[in-house]
């Protein structure tokens, strides 16, 4: 734990010296915020909370991208090799990345909430405890997914391609950018197998105060289990050496990281009440005061 904190402190300093970090961690999420407010919130103060949920989701999901790239860069440049000589384990190295991402995301999250409340006149603060919980566990989970990508790719090129594919799914099919209400019902149902959907739905529910305690608990549980499984898999697959290639069969381990979301997806599709997530956008844009609970047909 001590080494994790030591590494996290230095990683935070390194990030603060990197202009790319400011672009992806601060400028881009804020650009999304202004764009979404312009697109959905103009003249509809009731929609600002919904927009905040989406933008918080994008901010948290961004943890996924940076960490995988950084880890692969460190491995390719032989930086990890030097750390291997010191009494630092794979767990500390990976956990420090997750902790760093979380700490660095917090100021952006705070700025987004304050902007919505004070500049864009969001009507309430939302469920602050739920927002904080989902941001925390969401950041850990998406960082861990990034670590898995870094663990199973052998080159930066591979990492970028896989990141792009996963990122597009997260971005488009989770409801964080395009409201799921606009998709056919089968896509809405398929989205329940994506971790990003639990984050986006949870945060939208928390910022708009339209989610029940049970729904938030489901989202937190899905992300927590997803995080634990993903972290352990990335720890098992961790490689210090640039020339150490991951064998093909080891890549199958990635499937194990999907298991929690397969289980949650099936459960939600069969017994759950997640359909509220797909109608929240409609409800808010119509100015309705009640959550719609009709499941998609």
């Amino acid at each position: 734990m001590r080494h994790t904190w030591t590494l996290a402190k230095i990683r935070i300093r390194l990030a603060m010296r990197n202009r790319t970090f400011f672009f992806f961690t601060l400028a881009m999420p804020l650009a999304f915020l202004f764009f979404f407010v312009f697109l959905f919130g103009k003249g509809q103060p009731g929609m600002i909370a919904y927009v905040l949920g989406s933008v918080l989701s994008l901010t948290v999901m961004g943890s996924f991208w940076g960490l995988s790239v950084q880890l692969v860069t460190f491995r390719e440049q032989g930086i990890l090799r030097r750390f291997r000589l010191a009494p630092v384990g794979a767990g500390a190295m990976l956990a420090s990345g997750i902790l760093t991402n979380y700490i660095l995301a917090l100021p952006t999250v705070a700025i987004e909430i304050l902007l919505c409340r004070w500049v864009f006149h969001m009507q309430t603060w939302g469920s602050v405890w739920a927002i904080l919980l989902l941001v925390s566990i969401g950041s850990a989970a998406f960082s861990a997914f990034g670590l898995i990508v870094a663990s199973v790719t052998n080159t930066m090129q591979e990492t970028q391609i896989i990141n792009q594919l996963i990122w597009m799914c997260f971005l488009l099919l989770s409801g964080a950018t395009i409201p799921l209400a606009g998709f056919p019902h089968w896509i809405q149902r398929a989205s329940l197998f994506l971790p990003a959907t639990y984050l986006a739905a949870g945060l939208e529910g928390a910022t708009t105060r339209t989610a029940t305690l049970g729904e938030i608990a489901t989202d937190v549980a899905a992300l927590t289990i997803g995080f634990l499984v993903a972290f352990e898999i990335s720890r098992q697959l961790f490689r210090w050496e640039p020339e150490a290639k991951v064998p093909g069969r080891a890549k199958l381990w990635v499937l194990a990281a999907l298991v929690p979301f397969l289980v949650f997806g099936v459960w939600q599709n069969v017994w759950g009440h997640r359909p509220t997530i797909v109608s929240r956008f409609d409800m808010l844009s119509r100015g309705s005061g009640h959550a719609q609970t009709t499941p998609p047909h």
Binding site: H3, T6, L7, I10, I79, R81, R82, L85, A86, P87
Partner: protein, 306 residues
């Protein structure tokens, strides 16, 4: 008799079809500077990385400070310091931060401010890693290897790729470490480095230790012959040089004929006569006392940097 502080016993290691190590064994006593001398690809780095716990041998065993590098975890790492063949750190990490970061991983820590002074990095303490020259990076790597005040330091080609002036600076640092009675294991393909710095040397070639001893012992093992290097206007008649008086061995490297002679004056007289008879011309002639290079050539039939 005390147990050696480093013990490599019959190490084998293959990378696919490449046999990197084929039964390497040696032992290093506490306070000794031991060198692995050999050409690139001889297996030196593999041997050192097994001892550092970074590679697992296919066969054989390694012990450092009485510990198994693979199984002793943090306790093992607390006792060793190492300079890798190429060290890399994040570009935006400052020199001072690098030393302090690595020092924090160990229970026993050297004074990092003192290390900065000792390795002439004080003025560069706030410089980013990317702003350092090759020599400064190597000095930092050496300083980082000492942050835990280790009993054993591994130096894998510590001067490779550095210009002569920087190389001399690194020699001075290594000699200082030697005076502090630290155990050093260094790999090199520079003969002069091994001769200058090492108490004992193991010559490694094709994954095997082919000779071991003090530089003096190894030089004497080369039969005490004088090396005569001659360059001729035309190639001599087949075997003519090898038959000259006093010559015990003759090889050709890149147009230079290297003769080993037990009676150098007689060999030179015979050489001149032979060239006159062949109507050949002597372009240059140099004589050398026996060196480690000679020992290496005798043992392997090749120059070290071929």
């Amino acid at each position: 008799m005390p147990e050696p502080i480093i013990q490599a016993d019959n190490l084998f290691k293959n990378y696919g079809a490449v046999e990197a190590l084929r039964g390497v064994s040696f032992a290093v006593e506490e306070g000794e500077v031991f060198g692995l001398l050999g050409p690139n690809g001889a297996g030196k780095t593999t041997a050192v990385e097994i001892l550092e716990g970074m590679r697992i041998p296919d066969h054989g065993s390694a012990r450092v400070c009485g510990l198994d590098p693979q199984r002793s975890g943090e306790r093992f790492k607390d006792n060793i310091g190492a300079v890798l063949q190429s060290t890399s750190l994040p570009d935006k990490l400052r020199v001072k931060e690098a030393l302090e970061l690595f020092a924090q991983f160990y229970p026993r820590r050297a004074d990092t401010a003192e290390l900065l002074r000792r390795f002439q990095l004080d003025e560069k303490r706030n410089a980013f890693y990317s702003q350092l020259s090759g020599g400064q990076k190597q000095r930092l790597a050496l300083a980082m290897a000492l942050v835990n005040d280790p009993k054993v330091v591994f130096l894998d080609e510590p001067t490779a790729g550095l210009d002569p002036q920087v190389r001399r600076e690194i020699y001075d640092i290594i000699e200082e470490l030697r005076r502090s009675k630290r155990t050093l294991l260094l790999t090199t393909h520079y003969i002069e480095e091994a001769e200058r710095l090492c108490d004992r040397v193991a010559i490694v070639d094709h994954g095997r230790v082919i000779a071991m001893g003090t530089p003096r012992e190894l030089k004497h093992a080369s039969a005490g012959t004088t090396r005569i290097e001659v360059r001729l206007a035309r190639p001599p008649a087949d075997g003519a040089l090898a038959r000259l008086e006093g010559v015990t061995g003759c090889r050709e490297f890149d147009g230079v004929y290297v003769l080993h002679s037990a009676r150098a004056p007689q060999t030179i007289v015979a050489l001149v006569k032979q060239l006159e008879a062949e109507n050949n011309e002597l372009q240059s002639l140099e004589m050398f006392s026996p060196s480690l290079e000679d020992a290496f050539i005798e043992l392997t039939g090749r120059r070290l940097r071929e």
